[in-house]
Symmetry: C2
Subunit: 332 residues, 2 copies
């Protein structure tokens, strides 16, 4: 397998934590990694002999994605996407500017034929369940058509099978009531299309309360609702974690009492930690693209690289290509 | 003050828990309550001499709201809304069919002049903060215009001031990025209008992660996004509570260790419990309307009645009327 390409310039803790993660992926998991970035930024860092693809520019977190990708042709992100396109890397990983990561992947590796729009899929951890819920679109497309939501269902199902080994994942359409008519014209049309669509295990509408529960595997929605839902849950979990830590460690007595419980709470915290889950992924482009949290640590990067390797081995791009089946001339 | 009217037929645990809640509100808080429902359903229940307004019909949880309100003119919900309109009750409380509760309030008590559409406001608990976040619209309007979102900001601010005593509540527009241009045409237009709107403390865009945190007081969005966000958080909190209970009570050793921590965890659970928060409220109708959870217990009803009493005393309807200020002929 060709190496996993990593943007060493992207993320709040780049390049140090990013390079450290790449090195651990190589040493602990035996995964070959291609580092893409400014050679000067790597000076003084232990790169362990990993191959470096030089890029002289960096796209900042705050830059306008489309503009940046168009003007910074020698940026680490653009060069990384080109490495995937040209076969020097088998997948790309970045913790940098999300929009620019998407734009680079889209402009350089192109869409899979027939895909209307790529979507971001994010695993939502569900404590107590065997698998998370895959939520998509988690933010790539603010406005969606019903046909796009049907494609998201296919891409999400292919992802869930490749990632979690579930043969026929349960697909739900996120809405505000279980009845088919609920949720306005877009959901109504999408519900009708999804009900008739072959190759999907469509449960019908699901509600917000089902996202973080073991009711559905693939939860389909537009990128606005998906992004708000994802971040609301992340924020809620963070607020609650702070409150729980306050209870466990707030007083001397509490600290003493909670000591035997801490391993279990640490396990729950790890289950909830986005860093454990390998990051979000862009689905629908002709090359794998993993979008890590901006705050990614070395551990998050290791998990992202591992996930990228697994998805290359599972041929996720091929599975999506087969699921989308572009209509040929002459077909209805 | 005239009594608070309560639909004793509405809710999964009606009429027993509902009547028990009304009785406790009278005995513990000295609030006068008007019970609206079928006299036969109250037979054998202790109503403690509370006044009863008879209604021969009941709107079920699963009925189509608009149709039910039109055809069941002698239903408890329709009669309850009429009691508010006619001045027999100063507010209405129901744990029944949410859509039918809204429709009854809207058709019988009418909109406040100038209000484009009423909205549902729901307090989202924020552990560790002095006040919750008021989220609206939490489900009344699937599709919204920018002008509606501006009105929601005013109504939500009036609510927050009346309910939590905060003079100039911080208003945020829920979107998928902090920059004004983020979130598509609706948010862009709403951001521009809100930025120019007098009488509001507008912070700009907020993101999903800010909903359950102490960053914003009034979080404005369309009813689809609001409902999904609210329910996602409720579902997430439930899943996490189950996981935490599993840790605290899962083994004999854990039970022993966690005993001194249980009062603090019970306090956190109470903070998060929707039953503690007095229910959702319909804003924009010319009469107060509280929408309780379908699963409401007597305690939830007591809190809803208390909230209704407080909002009548604070003249929330008058505050909304002043905030909306309908344009007069001749004004732009």
């Amino acid at each position: 397998m060709r190496p996993i390409g990593v943007d060493v310039m992207g993320g709040d803790r780049a390049p140090g934590e990013i390079v450290a993660g790449c090195l651990r992926a190589k040493r602990e998991l035996g995964i070959d990694v291609l580092l893409v970035g400014r050679p000067e930024a790597l000076e003084g860092l232990d790169t362990g002999g990993l191959e470096v693809a030089a890029a002289s520019e960096v796209i900042d977190m705050s830059e306008d994605p489309a503009m940046a990708v168009r003007t910074k042709k020698d940026s680490s992100l653009v060069r990384l996407a080109e490495a995937v396109r040209d076969g020097r890397a088998s997948a790309m990983v970045s913790a940098g500017n999300t929009g620019a990561t998407m734009a680079s992947a889209l402009l350089r590796t192109k869409r899979i034929r027939g895909v209307l729009r790529p979507a971001i899929v994010t695993p939502i951890p569900v404590p107590g369940a065997a698998t998370p819920t895959a939520l998509l679109d988690a933010g790539a497309n603010v406005e969606c058509s019903a046909e796009m939501l049907v494609q998201f269902a296919h891409m999400g199902s292919a992802y869930f099978t490749a990632r979690y080994g579930v043969a026929e994942p349960r697909v739900g359409l996120l809405s505000i009531g279980e009845e088919p008519g609920k949720g306005g014209p877009l959901r109504k049309e999408a519900h009708a299309l999804l009900s008739d669509e072959p190759g999907l295990r469509f449960l019908g509408n699901v509600e917000g309360r089902d996202v973080m529960s073991d009711v559905v595997d693939v939860c389909v929605t537009d990128g606005f609702t998906g992004n708000v839902t994802l971040k609301a849950l992340e924020g809620g979990m963070r607020t609650l974690s702070t409150a729980i830590l306050g209870i466990l460690l707030g007083t001397e007595e509490a600290r003493a009492a909670s000591e035997p419980l801490l391993p279990a709470f640490a396990g729950l915290a790890a289950e909830l930690d986005p860093e454990s889950h390998g990051g979000a992924m862009l689905l629908g482009t002709d090359g794998l693209c993993i979008i890590s949290h901006g705050s990614s640590s070395a551990t998050a990067i290791v998990n992202a690289i591992r996930t990228a390797r697994d998805m290359v081995e599972a041929d996720l791009v091929g599975a999506i290509r087969r699921a989308i089946r572009p209509e040929r001339p002459g077909e209805a």
